[in-house]
């Protein structure tokens, strides 16, 4: 596998990355172990719920709920700054004004 080349238009899989195996400091190893532990815990929770014969309802995914909530409520954390005001004008005000004048002046 030393002469492995990635498939065209694909990233190299993490398991075939040589940096994963050589020249690893204990800190990096510890980090990978911790990530693996979190992942294994989540897998265990999911499999327990999935294989529960008494389960009748859908398995709720808290990460999905959090994502939906975050995407639906950006205004709670909105602050008017130069950048946000500029974006607001560019996407919210300018097209309306521009199209208004276009429709009013350029008639068939």
């Amino acid at each position: 596998m030393a002469d492995y080349r990635e498939a065209p238009l694909a990233t190299r899989p993490k398991t075939l990355d040589p940096n994963e195996y050589f020249n690893l400091s204990p800190l990096q190893r510890r980090a990978e172990e911790e990530r693996g532990a979190i992942r294994a815990n989540l897998k265990r929770q999911y499999q327990t719920q999935l294989n529960n014969p008494h389960r009748k309802e859908l398995i709720e995914d808290p990460a999905l709920t959090r994502w939906v909530h975050a995407r639906a409520n950006p205004y709670s954390y909105f602050k008017p700054t130069y950048k946000t005001s500029l974006l607001g004008v560019m996407f919210g005000v300018a097209p309306v004004v521009f199209l208004y004048y276009l429709f009013k002046t350029d008639r068939v």
């Binding site: 238009l9 694909a10 959090r66």
Partner: protein
């Protein structure tokens, strides 16, 4: 808990309130947290709580640690979006890599999305699914591709513009008609002698 009927120390018990409270409790004992929760005014502590939902930008290290735990990330891995009022809150900033780049052979919990249950989702997850944006490496570096494409288009546009300004074609002259410039066909008088039109020089 309804305050009027739960206060038993001094006031006489409101029988109607107690009855209602018992009915509500019976409802709450049943499975499901929807309607019964609404009616009884209390709900189970299991499932999603308000602490599990995204919150404001974390400022202290304790808040950062709590947020990392909430999102199932290591404290060192957790990096919130910069706090510039664009509406992200404490949502983690994950790598901008599409689901195309994930290992197709690993045993994902959701194989079509190439995602495990409970894994933090990218802010733009719906953009990075396998039907949409693909961040896989391109055959040639991206900048090279951009330069080649826009260079070619720009060059062609420039040459067409030059051709409009300075057109180049075979030399042409006015069309020469016979019979004295078609004198009779143009309605000239047959009695009169037309003037001679010579298209040649000897």
């Amino acid at each position: 808990m309804r305050v009027s009927s739960s206060d038993r120390q001094q006031q006489p018990v409101n029988m109607a309130g107690v009855g209602f409270r018992r009915w509500a409790q019976a409802l709450a004992k049943g499975k499901g947290s929807g309607i019964s929760a609404l009616l009884s005014g209390c709900r189970a502590a299991s499932g999603m709580t308000n602490n599990d939902l995204p919150g404001p930008y974390p400022k202290t290290p304790e808040e950062k640690a709590a947020a990392a735990k909430k999102y199932n990330l290591r404290v060192e891995d957790y990096e919130p979006y910069p706090d510039n009022g664009e509406g992200y809150g404490d949502y983690p900033k994950l790598e901008d890599r599409s689901q195309h780049e994930r290992d197709p052979w690993y045993g994902w919990d959701h194989p079509d999305l190439r995602r495990n249950w409970g894994e933090p989702m990218h802010w733009h997850f719906d953009m990075y699914i396998r039907n949409r944006v693909d961040t896989s490496p391109s055959p040639v570096p991206w900048n090279t591709m951009c330069k080649q494409l826009f260079g070619f288009i720009g060059f062609m546009l420039f040459m067409f513009y030059v051709g409009e300004i300075m057109p180049s074609y075979q030399p042409v002259a006015d069309k020469q008609y016979p019979y004295n410039n078609l004198y009779l066909e143009r309605g000239g008088d047959p009695e009169k002698q037309p003037e001679e039109v010579k298209h040649y020089e000897i």
